[in-house]
Symmetry: C2
Subunit: 359 residues, 2 copies
Amino acid sequence: MDHKVTIKEVAELAGVSKSTVSRYLNRGYVSEEKRELVRAAIAQTGFKSNFFAKRLKTKESKLIGIVLPRMDSVTVGKLLMGINRVLDPAGYQVLVQVSQLSQRRELEAMRSLQQQGVDGIIVDSVGITDEHALLARELTLPVVFTGQEYGGLTCIKVDDYGAGHLMGAFLRQMGHTHAVFAGVSETDKAVGRERKQGFLDGFGVKEAHNLTDEAVPVPSHPVTTPQVDFVETGFDFLSAYDKTALMWAQQPSVIVGATDNISLGILRYLHERGLHVPEDVSVTGFGGYEVGAVVYPALTTVAFDFELIGMKAAQAVLDMLHDEAVCLGGPEPMHLIQRESVRELGKPFVPEQSTGITL
Amino acid sequence: MDHKVTIKEVAELAGVSKSTVSRYLNRGYVSEEKRELVRAAIAQTGFKSNFFAKRLKTKESKLIGIVLPRMDSVTVGKLLMGINRVLDPAGYQVLVQVSQLSQRRELEAMRSLQQQGVDGIIVDSVGITDEHALLARELTLPVVFTGQEYGGLTCIKVDDYGAGHLMGAFLRQMGHTHAVFAGVSETDKAVGRERKQGFLDGFGVKEAHNLTDEAVPVPSHPVTTPQVDFVETGFDFLSAYDKTALMWAQQPSVIVGATDNISLGILRYLHERGLHVPEDVSVTGFGGYEVGAVVYPALTTVAFDFELIGMKAAQAVLDMLHDEAVCLGGPEPMHLIQRESVRELGKPFVPEQSTGITL
DNA sequence: CTGTTAGCGCATTCAG
DNA sequence: CTGAATGCGCTAACAG
């Protein structure tokens, strides 16, 4: 009955040899008439070529391994979407492994993937170490990193520094001089350091004042030269929420969350305290998550196009596979979305008429 | 120089036969001394068994195909998370295909996956048709569906009817008698029909009044017997937002969004109109997305544990693979989260003190 | 316990 | 253009 039809049976049924069928399956060299016979036999038997036998011969798996820090995140989803978008038309499948935000597991996943016979690997890393670099070379496979950067490796990621800079410059232009940057640990090079440093530079400030939970003298007079205070939080909105009191105590004119999630936690805290955004204080984020458009006030943010990043990363592996030069550059996957959470200083505040949803 | 070491070379280096090495790799039957020799040889050569050759022999791919409607969704992410959580320890890998919410592509994906040699398939379907059922049988592979249900197939999904019922009964208990149900198209059996029907039954109402954009007579006197009006929206918050005027025109005491996203769109609209939730009207959702906890008011919702669903679905394929009975049942992946967006009627309204974030 | 012997299903020389 | 022959790297009987 469903006895797994092979190329041999198709050949017999068509009255040709196995090789002819094989040729039919790949690029031609089959006469018109035989071609027709084979097609009929295949249609009749419902033959599907055996994936593993084929791979065993050709040494090509048409499989690309992907290492992801987690799955329940929209940004990761968009990334995967983009990856699929270029891999699928190219006839490649995706083998997914989750590192659970662990650098060690990233390494394990890469090894495991290689053993599964993938043709290339894309790693959305939480932090690239020397070990990563070593392994990437050891694997003798195209490996593309994203999320983080590391010298000498192929890395496709958003421009965290540029994003920070963009936001910093924008806020200065809006008349802000005193910001609190709610960032994450510096162990995260991309978000914790580059994004923050970009912001500082864009805001025109040499360095940030680190704030801890200990009592910090609140400035008794308005800040004149640009100033940025730094408060460290986690990536989740709960930890941001918990630190907002500290941020607010500095009386900044704007609070800059290093991610939209952080900003959402901050917004929630301020709302609970009866503080109004952006009248009492402005708030901005990074990421461009869709929910930023429906909360009130809608969040002003630097949006990243992770789908584009995914596409670029996938294209990069493909290029490496075909020994072509990887082309970095191309359209910038990042732009500022001005919504309602930032007030322009130095003008009387006019409450904007909410104008619907700005995605 | 990475000349792809095979089992044969390991054998030669260890001074044993290929089969001994093979046995070493699989279930034992190797003497202590030879075992040691083989291990040394493997360590020295850095041998990795060839995935495809192995699969070609054993007819087991240790691969499970997953068909997902989309990737950039947290619920889908959680599902995958759960799937991975049981598949990984069992030594299975995941091959992902995206259907882009198209039923036709779901079928294609299933076929493609089978051809890739997967051992089983999990389909997160947007709508199971007769064709799905046929194909599932044709494949002669364990196939588990989720997201939707269909008689005669193995389906693991949340109890949409039960969730609706839970919410309906809860709202009645809170004194509500006039609800607007903001649901999706009935072509979605699970969310569009079951969830809605559950709600109607829980609310104690025979059927809903369908509302269209045409002028609808607004009730001139308070509703006494329980009543539910129905407004159809899409799954995105923008379409929900656009329909909220219509909903509000009915003067319900509560608006029930069929998903949290829908509710978020509604919340935004109401806020823009200066309407207060839950003073002026209550709002609820379904899903339990994390953002529901940070918006204000925080959203009362029926939360689904999609990770658990994923785990159950994966366990089901595994069970089918081992010819064991699939156990449905187990812990209920669903519960009501009471937050701030529902007012108890018949009591004077006391604005709740916001008590932080309730995840 | 171990080596020998056969393929798994396919792509690819190589003669014809 | 086509068929016969040869492995890809590994596992699974089968006799030792």
